[in-house]
């Protein structure tokens, strides 16, 4: 099918202002949007800059705004967009460095602020083997282990747009993954961090995050569970 692809362009070394480049191309409805961007690089303008690696939705490199909504470019097919006009823009709320590449540092900083790692200073089992955990205990945080830190959620969140100090859904998801892990012992510290001004209370349940998550994590549910844990003092 014939489509019109509009791509956000900005070269900090040349351009004062961003612009859109338009490309007309013949594509297969089953093509990924990432494929289209690769066609642009191969056949039209090799200077287009974007991040990508795995090409199947697992590395989290290529989150971007496609027709106004956050997706992984490698996980959305042309036919899913139901349109022959496709507009590709960088994520909103992070500084654009070049073309579709944004500065991810604030995002990772928020991630690191919630202690996203297992903390348990108790002695290991004497036989040196695994700490035990029942399948039920494991299921409690299964969903939030899926996060690939693509930032599609955080950069779709109205609260983050207005204030990038808000830790954002991705950080909360990663805190959730440890708060509800029966092997972890630092839920209290994390909950106190998330109870701060820039923590969970900033979430207005706008739900863009959950809609955007390419891993289909129930983000808003996870945030709600964290809020409940803070209020009840129970995990």
């Amino acid at each position: 099918m014939q489509i019109k692809l509009r791509v956000f362009r900005f070269d900090p070394e040349k351009d004062q202002k961003p612009r859109f480049d338009t490309f007309f191309m013949d594509v297969d409805p089953n093509d990924r949007v990432l494929d289209l961007l690769e066609y642009v690089k191969a056949d039209f303008d090799s200077s287009l800059a974007l991040r990508r690696s795995c090409a199947h939705g697992i590395c989290g490199s290529d989150a971007m705004r496609i027709n106004g909504r956050n997706y992984l470019a490698c996980k959305v097919l042309v036919k899913n967009l139901h349109s022959d006009q496709i507009t590709v823009e960088p994520l909103l709320g992070l500084r654009v460095i070049k073309d579709l590449i944004v500065d991810m540092e604030p995002f990772f900083e928020n991630y690191r602020s919630v202690l996203p790692y297992l903390i348990n200073d108790e002695a290991l089992p004497e036989d040196g083997k695994e700490r035990l955990q029942t399948p039920e205990e494991r299921d409690r945080f299964e969903d939030t282990t899926k996060c690939i830190l693509c930032a599609a959620c955080t950069t779709s969140c109205p609260s983050f747009w207005s204030d990038e100090r808000y830790v954002g859904p991705a950080a909360i998801v990663n805190a959730h993954r440890f708060i509800f892990d029966s092997r972890d012992r630092a839920a209290e510290r994390r909950l106190n961090i998330l109870n701060q001004q820039i923590g969970v209370w900033r979430c207005r349940t706008a739900f863009n995050c959950t809609e955007a998550c390419p891993r289909e994590i129930h983000i808003t549910t996870a945030i709600a569970e964290v809020k409940q844990a803070i209020l009840s003092g129970k995990v």
Partner: protein, 130 residues
């Protein structure tokens, strides 16, 4: 069955304003359904501004039942609303100093208007009707 037999963790959370405000917004909201909806349906729809006169207003506010109703409405609706405004401002104003100034102003506005409203409600008595 829990093979790790984890003690339910005793978690102490520092209470803070945001947490309390979050709860308060929800509980006051629920309360506001009868209060605010009732008031509005009655005054704006059923009675309508064209039927409302000073006498009507005085008479209504002078009745004890309505007086109480209105005081609750004033306290909850305006408190809820002004805290809402504060939260909205906090989204957009990031400088802590600026935000402190703004919330102080909001607090004063809230206080002054609430006091004016309260005085009106408390002071009105049937004798004031013309």
């Amino acid at each position: 069955m829990s093979v790790t037999a984890k003690e339910p963790e005793k978690i102490r959370i520092q209470k803070n304003f945001d947490q309390i405000a979050w709860m308060a917004m929800r509980y006051s909201g629920v309360l506001l359904i009868p209060l605010a909806f009732g008031h509005m349906i009655l005054q704006d729809v059923v009675v309508g501004v064209h039927q409302i006169t000073t006498d009507y207003a005085v008479e209504r506010m002078a009745t004890l039942g309505w007086k109480l109703y209105d005081i609750f409405l004033l306290a909850f609706a305006f408190g809820h609303g002004m805290n809402g405004v504060r939260q909205v401002f906090r989204d957009y104003i990031h400088n802590p100093r600026s935000f402190r100034i703004v919330s102080s102003i909001l607090f004063v506005v809230w206080l002054v208007i609430s006091v004016i409203g309260a005085i009106t409600l408390l002071a009105i008595n049937p004798a004031m009707g013309r």
